[in-house]
Symmetry: C2
Amino acid sequence: MSNMIKEITEKITERLPEKVKLAKVEFEGPEVVIYTKNPEIIKDNGNIIRELAKDTRKRIIIRSDKSVLTPPTETIEKIEEIVPSDAEITDISFDDVTCEVIIESKKPGLVIGKYGTTSREIVKQTGWAPKILRTPPINSETIRKIRLSLRKNSKERKKFLQKLGKRIHREALFDNDWVRLTSLGGFREVGRSCLFLQTPNSKVLLDCGVNVAGVDDKTAFPFLNVPEFNLNDLDAVILTHAHLDHSGFIPYLYHYGYEGPVYCTTPTRDVTTLLQQDHLDISHREDKPLPFNIKDVKEALNKTITLDYGEVTDISPDIRLTLHNAGHIVGSAMAHLHIGDGKHNFVYTGDFKNEKSRLLEPSVSRFPRIESMVMESTYGGHEDVTPTRNTAEKELIKSIYSTLNGGGKVLIPVFAVGRAQEIMIVLEEYINHGILKDVPVYIDGMIWEATAIHTAHPEFLSKDLRDQIFHIGKNPFTSEVFKKVTNNEQRQRLIDSKEPCIILSTSGMLTGGNSVEYFKNLCEDSNNSIIFVGYQSEGSLGRRIQKGFDEIPLETNGVTELYNVNLKVVTVDGFGGHSDRKQLMEYVRKLSPKPDKILVCHGDAYKALDLASSIYRSYKIETKTPMNLETTRLQ
Amino acid sequence: MSNMIKEITEKITERLPEKVKLAKVEFEGPEVVIYTKNPEIIKDNGNIIRELAKDTRKRIIIRSDKSVLTPPTETIEKIEEIVPSDAEITDISFDDVTCEVIIESKKPGLVIGKYGTTSREIVKQTGWAPKILRTPPINSETIRKIRLSLRKNSKERKKFLQKLGKRIHREALFDNDWVRLTSLGGFREVGRSCLFLQTPNSKVLLDCGVNVAGVDDKTAFPFLNVPEFNLNDLDAVILTHAHLDHSGFIPYLYHYGYEGPVYCTTPTRDVTTLLQQDHLDISHREDKPLPFNIKDVKEALNKTITLDYGEVTDISPDIRLTLHNAGHIVGSAMAHLHIGDGKHNFVYTGDFKNEKSRLLEPSVSRFPRIESMVMESTYGGHEDVTPTRNTAEKELIKSIYSTLNGGGKVLIPVFAVGRAQEIMIVLEEYINHGILKDVPVYIDGMIWEATAIHTAHPEFLSKDLRDQIFHIGKNPFTSEVFKKVTNNEQRQRLIDSKEPCIILSTSGMLTGGNSVEYFKNLCEDSNNSIIFVGYQSEGSLGRRIQKGFDEIPLETNGVTELYNVNLKVVTVDGFGGHSDRKQLMEYVRKLSPKPDKILVCHGDAYKALDLASSIYRSYKIETKTPMNLETTRLQ
């Protein structure tokens, strides 16, 4: 038994009433799990556990010993008695490994009860520790599969967590004299973000993405073949958000033998799984095989440890991780690393939006301490100033309004995650308020599934949305204005219809997917319009349309036809998930406390350099813009 | 057989007269060795070999097949017939492994003969390939032992070279997309210089020194425990010069299993061996054991491959090394790396003096190409301006003159290597020209041995010295004004004597060694003087004397006595082996071509930063001053 476990056992035995019988105390990953034959007594002594947690700086979980569990059928009956029917329980299942009863409910708050009274009652009466999950109001195939997979994998997962627990709590052998960061991808470029952080005691990867625009392995994937990077020595992977340029190469790590955890928020886990699967599907369709497969995506999922914002977690003997809201997409996070008992504090912003949006709160800018920071610079050039969200919304509504009034259809090509939901909320509001005509908003492609995942995690959305959902009981995503499009017949029907409508479809840059098909059918009618709300990269069809090409040759089933572009082409800036130049500078201004050193990444070379030099000039903070493959001392 | 060997064999067979019989062609380290039964014919066709060497960009060595060797006794007789007696052969020995006859001679030029005619004659008549070494005019124990050790080790060395040859000429597997340099020691500090250079195909260490002033392993030794550094993957160690802050940790590499070569000049090899042994002796005496032992020093010696200035050598599949004079101490070099067929060219200056001195030519500043450079900044602060060599000499002579005229003794504490010889040459000249009194110059401590090594390598000394030695036949080091002091009796005698004299003794900062003993005996007499010609570090006895302390407590055999400092204390700047601030800037100005990027190392942080910023401002060359443990992209 490790010293720490011994110490915790002693402390808890000392403090709890004598009649409490501890069956076992052990690490499961970063958590301390206490198995007891009297879970009810421990639950009644919550403050003792809270104190112990504070004292040991550990997260402590209480579970019942198998011997005191009520049989499942009886448990289900009791739960149905205890929980009010308003909670709308949709499923109850049992995890024999963790002694948890998994309750899926449309209103999980009611299963928990005020101050947790209801869930405590469940423990008392059944012995089972309730694990309460939200049933998404829009059915999500992804979440269903993820929950199923985790349930099936419970035994393996427990073994994994126990092993990991020992690893995390091993002794720190060396003095924390330095912290160094190697740029393995996403420096002086956008794509394949990958940061490798080393201390004398630990090695951690922050993000591990792909550049989907990369032309070969050398440009598409991060530089994992450097001699300092070794999968066996890796303590943890921290994932800041789900986009493939941050998450897309994680399955590769598992393919080549990584056995450790991925830390991220629950929405990030869910969206990442969706996007990774989609990436494999596309690469399969396009016959551009990736160096990993679906098994590795599942392995990554099974080894993911989800964290809430603000939850402090040991991930190695000398590193504590806390995730904070980044405001970029649902579940996106900044990673704060507290290293060597606070000798050094490091923040990696990931992609972030320093402005409140419909969907999300603005990124966090106050930290207990920061000595060094790595920040993104996607819009770091001094010319990268975009309109405010408010202006953007007005612009968008104005364009839609005139098209609809003219009897036309509006096509909005969007990325499935983030931008789409942002636009949906805007549309729902304006339609509901009667400002826009009550036309159907067709949701095509992966957007629906991504939206469903959003509905499973309202805690991660903006305060306004949460208020709407929890207090007013009105979830904009479930509004009837949204119509799901799933097959070609439906597609053809809405195209053929004379009725005006709005269509949201992927891909966002018309580089494939149904947005291209819609475009072909809508482009020749000057009553229609296409509205770009996101970045169109050079060479994409979206960019050519944006530039005003009159005629565009497009292929259908191997035959190329020339299309006349008559529809109105509109670009609305300001819906981006990234901070613009002003917001980036403003973010550093309001950062508290100020770091000693800022490394700028995730931006074209000149933007990164431009931002770095402006930050230095304005705030006298040392800045660097490392190249990929460089190693920088943080401490 | 490797493809390259096959190709070379074909080419040579094609070009040489038909009757030539090749016995074998193989790699020995970077060289191609051709064994033949008709060495005489090949020797007569030197131009074919030269062309082949040019063609293949390889160094080609011809050796005889064992079957055609004349027996040793007969060979000795023939050599004595062929070589004129003026050559003063001191030893002839045979290396059965390499089929070389090793001829040590006081005038090796006469053994070689004009255009190599004499040595060619030896091959023709005996079959043995002559390896001609200089018998140092001052007997050097170090060189005697080194030569003995290498001779003894010949069989092992051949195996080593054959294995190394295969390794060097392995196929380059990856494109040369990048070159990165990790600072493992000696950045933003002076001491423990260590640069780790990686390409996709190779890994090379440049210098591997110790900081003798380091208080513990963490401050004394380079950061070899980083995960990217692995002894098994190391292709080569390049040593720029012999001082311990560049060479002192090389034995450690062998202690922990490094089996590859060290590349350096012959004087560097010899002086390094002397200093490494001395380092072990001192650490043993002071009971501060080093993490390696004398076996490792020998191992390093046996695996050293010496190169002349300007000699281009393959050291890995994608790196060619050329050493150039650095003007710092005898044999000191700048390392030029030609990487990836010239895709990138890198120069590491090591320590360098951009000014002609008595002893050495100024550092080389013209290279075929340079893209990036690492340069030293010991005197890189803007305040680091020292007098010219000429002024320094006058200052020195003036002080000595007045002391000698007053009947006093002059003590000059010096470092054994470099400074001592520089001063010796000056003294010899002024005494010989009758400007200084013809008093004895006592040479104490390791200086004598270091000087002896200098006399073995006149080719590495300044043109003036070479002219004196080779053409006028006058070697200043062998002058009768120098008296070797080897024991306490001699020391006491010269102290007790009323006659004026000059004493050169180590250590240079009076941190130990006989200079302290001389000081004790000379300091109370105001007729005497002590002249500092080198840097006195804070805390050293030298520094306290320099600062003008009147009374100094010193220990003798455990008893502390108070000494009154009455002797004259003089400091003469300008004899340093480093470029001063002006010379550093001037060096960059005259560098041809100019590199795109200069990394500044080997200087206190503020001096490195000061120099880097001045270079950037003056020449618009990108500069960096990495910290230890940082990795910088060169390409």
